[in-house]
Symmetry: C2
Subunit: 246 residues, 2 copies
């Protein structure tokens, strides 16, 4: 397997990204990595002794953290995330990884790779630690704001395949984030989503879960709209900050 | 000031409620308390030596934690929360306090006291600890699910008066819970609410805040719809559980 890595995306890129790539190879990571970005900077960060399984693909441009992602991608053909994503499109890589502008990564996937049939809107997945020791998949953590019940069903399907294929979970359980366990709880959207999820025979639907159930690890997947998921994830982060920083 | 206390509401009622009332008087609490509920049980919990400033109002019935609140209140005239709330209505008490069924407390307020002019929907307020040492008012923490932008504006007004009058905060700042600081962030409802809040001259509107800003204490008030507020509060509780219980 070959992974295209956006070497220019994220804090202290490309140095930290290159260090991560070298560490991956040193620790015996099984995939080949293609570092995509400014060749001179990447080469300097790599040093003289480049291990096997790491190559470079030149891309002169970068999407900044404060740029409008889709506009930047449409105007500039040679961005690191655009080139890395195009490698997947053209079969030159099997996957793309970026620690940069989230919107740009999503926009590149949408513009370059296109949508999977049956999936109307994007979703972000956050893997959260739980009291049970195994991580839970929170989806959507912030991509689609006004998600309707059909989007929620699609998110549950995407998360199910992800947990099966990537995390090796057999029939991952899906919880719908709500204000109570009973099926009649929630707003209009949650009521409709509950009915759709309950009727989906390809899903292992657990039922409604509450905010506190995410870290309890009640279900493998916690599905919600992007607004709620984003506020929830950041609210939990805020509590961790208080405990860690005091 | 006289406070009607629902002596039958909450875990281990009326014993724990009565213990709290006795403690309040012992510590010099300035208000008179009326314990509302089953007289024999309350009298037994109070013991022989009832301090001044504590009286009993008989109410034979109780709304259980798993009952439908409005139905229970409509069918049974003699519930502790119903009688306690009616005391406020009739000027026999200045306020009512209950640790029981939240929905019953809200339904009693709505059915017995009615709505304030200009306020269409109820909201629950949660006072949350923050890193700045002063608590923040999270509103709505779970009463109104499908709140629109007009509800949000009304919630901000209720929270502002509450923080001024009860917590003595001068011009409390109002943050709109959203997925980013920029005014154009969020879903349809948040965009509309941001515009309304910005135009409300009686409010000290800070702008958008993110989930993590609640515990950071960025604003005195964190306003949102009841669905988001409930999921956020319980999600934060879940993280605390993990830290405290491991």
């Amino acid at each position: 397997m070959k992974i295209a890595v956006d070497a220019m995306g994220g804090d202290h890129a490309p140095d930290e990204i290159v260090r991560g790539a070298l560490l991956y190879r040193k620790e015996g990571g099984p995939s080949d990595l293609v570092l995509v970005g400014r060749e001179d900077q990447i080469r300097k960060a790599l040093g003289a002794d480049v291990p096997p399984g790491i190559t470079i693909r030149a891309a002169q441009d970068v999407v900044g953290m404060d740029e409008h992602p889709a506009t930047a991608l449409r105007r500039r053909a040679d961005t690191s995330i655009g080139v890395a994503t195009a490698m997947v499109k053209h079969g030159e890589a099997d996957a793309v990884v970026s620690a940069g502008n989230t919107g740009a990564t999503m926009a590149a996937a949408l513009l370059v790779l296109g949508r999977i049939r049956g999936i109307d809107r994007p979703a972000l997945c956050g893997m959260l630690p739980t009291a049970k020791g195994k991580p839970a998949c929170l989806l959507d953590a912030g991509a689609t704001m006004d998600a309707d019940e059909h989007n929620i069903l699609q998110f549950a399907r995407m998360a199910t395949r992800f947990m099966e294929k990537i995390h090796g979970v057999d029939r991952p359980s899906v919880g719908l984030i709500n204000v109570g366990e009973e099926p009649e709880k929630g707003g209009r959207m949650q009521l409709a989503a509950h009915a759709l999820l309950e009727g989906a025979e390809d899903l292992n639907f657990y039922g409604n879960i509450e905010g506190r159930d995410v870290t309890r690890g009640i279900t493998d997947i916690c599905v919600t709209d992007g607004f709620t998921g984003n506020v929830l994830a950041k609210g939990m982060e805020g509590v961790v900050d208080v405990f860690v920083e005091g």
